[in-house]
Symmetry: C2
Subunit: 197 residues, 2 copies
DNA sequence: TACCTTGATGTCAGTGGCTGACATCAAGGT
DNA sequence: ACCTTGATGTCAGCCACTGACATCAAGGTA
């Protein structure tokens, strides 16, 4: 993950650099073109100039190649909750953390759309996405507990926050280009507050 | 599903009856004994007196054999939301529907514990569980829309309801035998109401 | 009775995801 | 000149899952 961020300007090694990123790009391209199920790992590897075996050294399975971003997301969420002022309510801390992730998506709305269109066509990819979101939720709950929130409130707020994010993300991805993800997040939050009672 | 509920007292056909149920029981038994990954589908089929090919005629994959109950759950949720009085708030309708599912679990707490202990050991099973819950959430949202709730409120309430259920279920499964699932559901709901603001 | 249809199951061959074991070979240090 | 490191390639193999075809009791029909 850190290695792929380094900029090489010359052949510094025996192989082309950024194998991991090349695999990610090849996979998304082929998944969009042919569909997820109709693409074999061998084809992805070939497209990236590597072998199937090397693919599986970089990614645990064929789905995981679409989800490298979740680690970054988790860091943002956890650090924002940890760094939120002690005076903020747990709900405000979660809302702030979710808001902090928005720029990452806004920067690459088209990429997000492509990626999501692939995920939406395959139940097994939806499963993986749900697992990643649940993992984010668990991390969020842990960060809330560190801040003094008890159980089950911490888990409840974390899960609810993730639910709000899912709904807002869905609206953003399918909606007009004029409304930002942050807009949708805000709307979903206020809707939730008014509906829960 | 309906066929397995019929009580046969004699050999009414060429094969032992209730193949589907036998497969489910064999699978849970072996998953508990050896672990999910260490159990092959051929072993499950043999334990049930069938072949691997027949297993895959009854279940889409090796995980699905643990999730036949979700269809019943979905029916209960949807019918209770649809049948809730028009005067009830959407939140109350969701809460009522979730509460209506509790007896199904209370009746078989030990079975639920075994099943959950297997799921908790395997990420791929957790994925499937999350997909089932998300499907329930989507059905719940649909039932709310039928009742007149708009979007994104319907999805938001449905997702939140599922989140509440997940948290409550986790507390119930791991907690003391004196507290019912309905108890935990009620507590989670009040916690949520007080925390969301 | 003889025949036909139906449907759950068995058999078999094949694809592809994924893994373990071992080989290769440039880079960088000693 | 030598060694170590680490990313990659090669190969054999397991197992989840599928398509195509065969089997054969049950139940209806002529």
């Amino acid at each position: 993950m850190s290695a792929t961020a380094i900029a090489y300007d010359r052949a510094m090694s025996r192989w082309e650099p950024n194998a991991r990123v090349r695999l990610e790009e090849a996979a998304l391209k082929l998944y969009v073109e042919r569909g997820f199920e109709q693409t074999t790992v061998a084809e992805i590897a070939k497209e990236a100039g590597l072998t199937e075996r090397t693919f599986f050294r970089h990614f645990a399975d064929k789905r995981e190649v679409l989800f490298s971003g979740s680690a970054v997301l988790q860091e943002i969420l956890v650090s924002h909750v940890a760094g939120s002022p002690g005076s903020a309510t747990p709900m405000a801390a979660v809302a702030g953390a979710l808001g902090a992730t928005c720029p990452l998506f806004e920067e690459r709305r088209e990429h997000a759309r492509h990626r999501q269109s692939v995920i939406d066509t395959s139940p097994v990819l939806q499963e993986r996405e749900l697992l990643k979101l649940a993992t984010l939720g668990a991390a969020l709950a842990g960060a809330l507990r560190e801040r003094g929130t008890g159980e089950p409130a911490a888990s409840l707020l974390a899960e609810t926050g993730i639910a709000v994010f899912r709904v807002a993300f869905g609206c953003w991805i399918n909606g007009s280009d004029r409304r930002t993800l942050a807009d949708h997040l805000g709307e979903s939050l206020t809707e939730l507050k008014s509906a829960v009672r």
